[in-house]
Symmetry: C2
Subunit: 357 residues, 2 copies
Amino acid sequence: MTDNRYCVIMAGGAGTRFWPKSRQSMPKQFLDILGTGKSFIRHTYERFAPLVAPENFVVVTNRRYKALVLEHLPELDEKQVLCEPVGRNTAPCIAYAAYTLLKENPEAEMIVTPSDHLILNEEEFRTVIGECLAFAATHNALMTVGIKPTRPDTGYGYIQVSDAQPVSKVKCFTEKPGLELAQTFLQCGEFYWNSGIFVWTAKNIVEAFERYLPEHHALFSGLMRALGTDAERNIVEMVFAECRAVSIDYGILEKADNVYVRCGEFGWSDVGTWGSIYQHSRKDRYANAAPEEGCYLSDTRSSIVSLPKGKIAVINGLKEYIVVDTDDVLLICPRAEEQNIKKFIDEVKYHNGDKHI
Amino acid sequence: MTDNRYCVIMAGGAGTRFWPKSRQSMPKQFLDILGTGKSFIRHTYERFAPLVAPENFVVVTNRRYKALVLEHLPELDEKQVLCEPVGRNTAPCIAYAAYTLLKENPEAEMIVTPSDHLILNEEEFRTVIGECLAFAATHNALMTVGIKPTRPDTGYGYIQVSDAQPVSKVKCFTEKPGLELAQTFLQCGEFYWNSGIFVWTAKNIVEAFERYLPEHHALFSGLMRALGTDAERNIVEMVFAECRAVSIDYGILEKADNVYVRCGEFGWSDVGTWGSIYQHSRKDRYANAAPEEGCYLSDTRSSIVSLPKGKIAVINGLKEYIVVDTDDVLLICPRAEEQNIKKFIDEVKYHNGDKHI
């Protein structure tokens, strides 16, 4: 561990895909959807804790989740939680952290990570991150972590490498390809999933902002001067109100010529759908995601059931369903229809307001 | 109204068929499963209130439901609730009421009714009961109310009449016939459903007990002497412990030669299954039992959904299902499988004890 090494956890998502289990007031990163005993954000923190000192973690989140972050990560001081007044995708989120760290420590090395992913082999994962840190410290490189794909997933972004070295220059990014293209990518062997985990120095990413997102650079440079002063909150408000929502991939990585990828295999998922939860769960002999205690299934298969603590369910005759029960909302939906959850939410919102959202 | 006219409401059932909506601690007669705004027992009371003075109602129930009865029927005095220590089917239940009324008023005329049936045309129903009362007051007759059948239901008992008079002597009782027999009954026109609603004088039914159920007569005659004394509770305990469980139909009506039936058509159901609830509910245009507020159904038809107050449900892709959600139990079951609910309860009981039963 060095004092220059920081971990930036992006935890601003208000994901609706796990509704009604996740809510606006309690998004996925604060939940233990897989039943591991810890929330995703807690797992994320503990995953990096062997590499980064507690005081060198920074969490960027929406203002409304600040208390939740501190509750899940009591090791952090309040000032380690950077609050966005409004979500503007990953580029502004990363900029806020990068300009803050650059002011604090011009030598800062940053790991940037989502707060709600699953990683099975954490030892191997930290080895990969260690190599990224070493590479980023000695090259003017924006590092991204690539994942060896195991299926032609059409929901992920793909990174094409230019050679077979462990650390390779990126040739091309492709966001969410069609199934045919995804199959070609899988067969070709040059394509990796984009994990959304990055490693770079604060100085290098700020230089990239200056070059590729000059408007953002202007806004966040202005903010930099106000950091730690009474004016900070107001200026953050203004900066986020004015800055364009853009992802770091689209805004910088797809344009910069110093982007490198370290490919790894350590059992990764962004756990973005009930389908992926189902995939990562143990199964009973009828291919149901290992039922929770109090779950009585008969003539039911390939289904996933989530219940509030202490509740029991008697479920008969469901094939390939998602059943999510919470104190105030019950969802029953075929697994193949889960992309409609967003529509269901809109309908509920239209009729019942935000109460159940 | 005459002071001799009494209404005996049988309310001891601990029906499990509506589990998890009904519970051991809150059986069907105290619920408003049809969403009418009143419990079944309250409807029963109000149905007879134009015919019987409040002080002439008697409710026979299990000891544990005494407080519930008084809560639903605040018009009653505590002494109008006769408590069985244990259920012994309808004959002992009716005997308890009959011997009690005979002691109180040797001229007592009794209407005996279940507490959990549905009757749509109450005006017509009261006309039928009025005729039964008139007949029973002037003949030594045990009257039963027959219902003109509308389908070959295999769950009901059937009564064959001996002539086409409004009040006819009963030729034969048949309990739960097979489908083929039920179809024959329906076509034949001589068969009526046995509603389980009876009218007779206390004197006549006690005479029938003496003749056809002499053991019960001995026990309840003994009890009669103790009624209203300090010994009553202990003797009731002893009587119910000793007396054989038997239905009034099997024990007396199928044997006696003075049983008459008054047939009626007034929209009757014993509401014994979710299927019958479904049948009696208004339907939406996809044949779902009119969904409760907060129920968002898509690609769902011919289903029935019951939710706790204030809860919402988003249900996609169910055909012909029963979904019953309560605070501590969720049931999802194809309508065609509802006869398995009893098995589900046994399984839950085996693993979780009585907590959710």
